[in-house]
Symmetry: C2
Subunit: 123 residues, 2 copies
């Protein structure tokens, strides 16, 4: 499900370039990181993300290897969500080693309470 | 929050015309109907709905009087969500009495389980 925290992140990412490609997490990654089934599956999440005006394309990621996706998408800028576990320095170093030129930006969050679980605490 | 059930409804509504105006429920209406505070307030919900590619405009409704909104928006077609309480026949009769020409369509649902509460039952 999409909430205003996602929208904030997407607007910030869009402002960094002309075309916004969103990499959608695989179900297997969510199972591993969250220890539960995703509420919607990866194709449903991809369709939801694609329905947003500011999103030009959505692609499913490759579990455990973000560099295959980066080589396919060839972005000028990688925008990381405030809560994504990837390290800016590691992406910059590894991309350089593979001959990919890109900048990595860590997005901020308007408020840490803007998470699905927090929004739904009284639901 | 927006889930794939909302997206289904919006796509169906969009297919009925050229310009899709979504009437967003007021907080007071949600409090009355659901007996709880809305998860996001009416302005946040309006911004979320406006972020969808298929939505041309979002307007806040008028509690207890849909006809003020209809007179402002002047739609050719009113698309009711499958779970909205309004009666098609009442809207048609009352619009006619006010000199507003419009058709009323009741949208179907892909599945009654596509509700936030159902989607989150295992969350």
């Amino acid at each position: 499900m999409i909430h205003r925290g996602h929208l904030y992140t997407i607007s910030k990412a869009k402002s960094l370039g002309d075309v916004l490609v969103v990499v959608v997490a695989r179900d297997s990654t969510i199972r591993k990181r969250k220890g539960r089934e995703p509420v919607s599956d990866e194709n449903q999440r991809s369709a939801l993300i694609s329905s947003l005006r500011q999103v030009d394309a959505a692609v499913l990621g490759v579990e455990g290897n973000i560099y295959d996706t980066l080589e396919r998408v060839k972005p000028d800028v990688v925008a990381l969500g405030y809560d994504q576990h990837h390290m800016e320095s590691e992406i910059e170093r590894e991309s350089k080693a593979r001959g990919i030129r890109l900048d990595v930006v860590r997005l901020d969050s308007p408020s840490p309470s803007l998470k699905t679980t927090a929004l739904l605490k009284d639901f």
